[in-house]
């Protein structure tokens, strides 16, 4: 066989047709699949876990809200009651290192060395600071999912089990998640974990079962100093709008282009 008869014009046409029809069929299959579950509407089956299938309360209109969260670091005293409340409210394992929110303690010394710790997310006591005389500054930073507008975790999920509801909450359909772990490494903020009880990914739902009923998330509810401010960005006189108006705020890793909706007041440059 020579080159000429291998690559005749006819062959090339046939080949192109075969390739084209293959691509067409693939697209078709994908389109057909997209029509099926999970329902992309705001009531994902797994949201509001651990009880599983969660229904939106009557009269709640997701598109009328857009939630965000503010944290005033000046007010955080590191009591970590938010970590405890989150575990209780959402039945998050206390034995596994699963945290939907946690509190980090930063210690910066005079020579610019940095020590960060968060023993059991803050549930265990922070160790005593050695050589307090050399401490330049020390502060607490609560962390949690920023419910990003452009969330990498939602982007990478191969089966669409992570979704962003119209009210701006990034949720996992735990009944559809296959537990591949891709989203856990895609999050630039380390806010996702592998939940051993369901063997799927887990994360903060912003207490979706509470906020859709007009309540605050457990962490914001319990915060004794008012450092944690939950609110609806659409509500112009609401607590979050007020927080954003009255404070200079920053988000973590803005260069990632994820557009987080977790706003910190008085964030130190060392926090990442």
């Amino acid at each position: 066989m020579t080159h000429d008869d291998t690559l005749s014009r006819r062959d090339i046409l046939k080949k192109t047709f075969a390739l084209g029809s293959g691509v067409f069929l693939c697209t078709f299959a994908v389109k057909a699949a997209k029509g099926e579950s999970p329902d992309p509407t705001p009531a994902p089956k797994g949201a509001g876990d651990p009880t599983g299938s969660y229904k939106l309360p009557n009269g709640y209109e997701p598109s009328a809200h857009y939630y965000g969260y503010g944290i005033d670091l000046d007010k955080c005293i590191g009591c970590t009651r938010c970590v405890d409340a989150c575990k209780t409210e959402n039945s998050v394992s206390r034995t596994e290192p699963n945290f939907r929110t946690w509190v980090e303690r930063y210690v910066i010394r005079d020579d610019d060395t940095l020590e960060v710790c968060s023993p059991k997310g803050g549930l265990d006591p922070y160790p005593a600071i050695e050589d307090p005389g050399s401490v330049a500054k020390s502060f607490f930073v609560p962390k949690m999912c920023a419910h990003c507008e452009r969330s990498p975790c939602e982007q990478v999920c191969p089966v669409g089990a992570t979704l962003k509801s119209p009210d701006g909450v990034v949720l996992i359909d735990k009944k559809y998640c296959i537990g591949c772990g891709y989203c856990i490494q895609a999050c630039p903020y380390g806010c996702r974990y592998f939940d051993e009880s369901t063997r799927t990914a887990g994360k903060c739902t912003l207490c979706y079962h509470r906020i859709t009923r007009g309540l605050r998330p457990a962490c914001a509810e319990i915060c004794p100093t008012g450092a944690r401010v939950f609110g609806d960005l659409r509500e112009k006189d609401g607590p979050l709008a007020k927080f954003l108006r009255e404070h200079r705020v920053q988000v973590l890793k803005p260069h990632m282009g994820t557009r987080p909706k977790l706003y910190y007041h008085n964030l130190d440059k060392e926090v990442r």
């Binding site: 994908v30 960060v116 990498p152 559809y176 296959i178 772990g181 490494q185 630039p188």
Partner: protein, 419 residues
């Protein structure tokens, strides 16, 4: 009808053979069973049976997967010279490359499967049955690309063997376009696999545009390294004719591929070291360790040294033609790329994690056993398919073969697209 008979006869052929052959099959089955039991354990306890944690959520399994995608893609190193440049000596063995691609893909799928927390929901990934997040997720792209490439190779190999079995020439207007399509398909599976890592802004070690070219270059070395060793085995154990020229040509192509691979590595080293941004931390973890955390350092350097010395062995014609240095080179390449495209890619990408935390990963025995099982199944597939392909090519297995009768020893007619 004919197809059923073909499959039955082929399987019968695959299961019969000399004592050494049957012992080899039994050995692979035993290894697969040993690892299979470990998987039962993992199912019972969950992924906690592995050493993967939230900081390092992909590790040994996905490292092997990535390496094996490269092996699968490397079939084209035979197809391009055989079909595009019409180089006869390689054409005769090209089908063995396609069989390697099939076996590697089987292993790839197994490694993804065992990495899932919910293997019972595996079907969510299947096009048509589940809901693929396509085109957003690169993992969804990879599912389509790998399955497509698998089907393509299965059709080519199956059709060529079936025609040869029936002693009839195959329709080249059907096969040649498929073979030509398999070239971009092979490149695409590896590119898409690279993009899975590449697309993550949160992981700067992977978020480098040089990643996909590096994947391709290293794949062009690792797959052929395995093939060269297999070809020599076939040369010794069967009448299947494989010319030494074919082996030398493949080794020469591998030398060029390894040069590109090392050049791209150098380009990356320069960028990391000269600009020395905070992203260099992952690179340092791989090659120098971070404080007391240095589990990967010895592997990082082993990989570079193996690749470099294999390149030197293969670029000199005398050493790539000498059987000892040829096989040594293959072994060095295998080690070099296995580390580089396996754990040497996955682990430093995730260490330190996004919060700066360092979790030093090392696989558990469960993980190693399951990995052994995946490899055993892949080797089993390769052994069986090669046995059938060689028997058909040599004319020992045709539709006229009477079961139980000694092979008739007709004139060998290799399976090629050359009828």
């Amino acid at each position: 009808m004919g197809l059923v008979r073909f499959v039955v006869q082929a399987l019968r052929c695959a299961l019969s053979g000399g004592i050494a052959y049957r012992l080899w099959l039994a050995f692979l089955v035993a290894l697969a069973a040993w690892g299979g039991l470990a998987y039962v354990d993992q199912i019972r306890h969950g992924l906690i049976a592995t050493n993967m944690r939230d900081q390092v959520s992909w590790a040994f399994y996905i490292g092997n997967f990535t390496f094996l995608v490269g092996v699968a893609a490397a079939a084209i190193i035979l197809i391009i010279p055989a079909y595009v440049y019409d180089w006869k000596p390689i054409k005769e063995v090209a089908i063995l490359g396609e069989i390697l691609a099939l076996s590697a893909l089987v292993m790839c799928m197994l490694f993804v499967f065992v990495d899932l927390g919910r293997p019972d929901r595996f079907w969510h990934l299947l096009p048509g049955l589940g809901t693929l997040n396509w085109p957003m997720s690169l993992l969804a792209w990879d599912v389509l690309a790998l399955n497509g490439y698998f089907v393509l190779n299965l059709v080519i190999v199956g059709y060529l063997l079936f025609c040869s079995y029936n002693r009839r020439p195959y329709n080249k207007h059907f096969v040649v376009p498929l073979i030509l399509i398999s070239i971009p398909a092979a490149i695409s599976i590896h590119t898409v696999t690279a993009f899975i890592y590449n697309g993550m802004a949160a992981r700067p070690f992977w978020n480098a545009s040089i990643l996909a070219p590096r994947f391709l270059a290293s794949a062009m070395c690792s797959g052929p390294a395995i093939l060269l060793i297999l070809f020599q085995l076939l040369q010794r154990t069967t009448r299947f004719e494989i010319k030494d020229e074919a082996l030398w040509k493949i080794a020469e192509i591998m030398a060029y591929a390894m040069f590109v691979n090392l050049f791209l590595l150098g380009a990356e080293v320069f960028k990391e070291v000269y600009s020395s941004t905070e992203h260099i931390v992952h690179f340092n973890y791989l090659f120098f360790g971070l404080g007391e955390h240095g589990a990967l350092v010895k592997y990082g350097w082993t990989s570079v040294l193996c690749s470099l010395s294999a390149f030197l062995l293969f670029i000199v014609p005398a050493t790539r033609r000498h059987p000892v240095t040829l096989n040594l080179g293959c072994l060095l390449i295998y080690i070099g790329v296995y580390i580089e495209k396996g754990m040497g890619l996955v682990i430093p990408g995730l260490t330190p994690d996004a919060l700066g935390e360092i979790y030093e990963y090392a696989p558990t025995l469960t993980e190693v056993r399951i990995g052994v099982a995946c490899f055993s199944v892949g080797f089993l597939v390769y052994t069986v398919l090669t046995k059938i392909a060689v028997a058909i090519s040599l004319g020992d297995l045709t539709r006229d073969t009477v079961p139980g009768l000694a092979p008739a020893g007709q004139a060998p007619k290799p399976v090629t697209a050359d009828a």
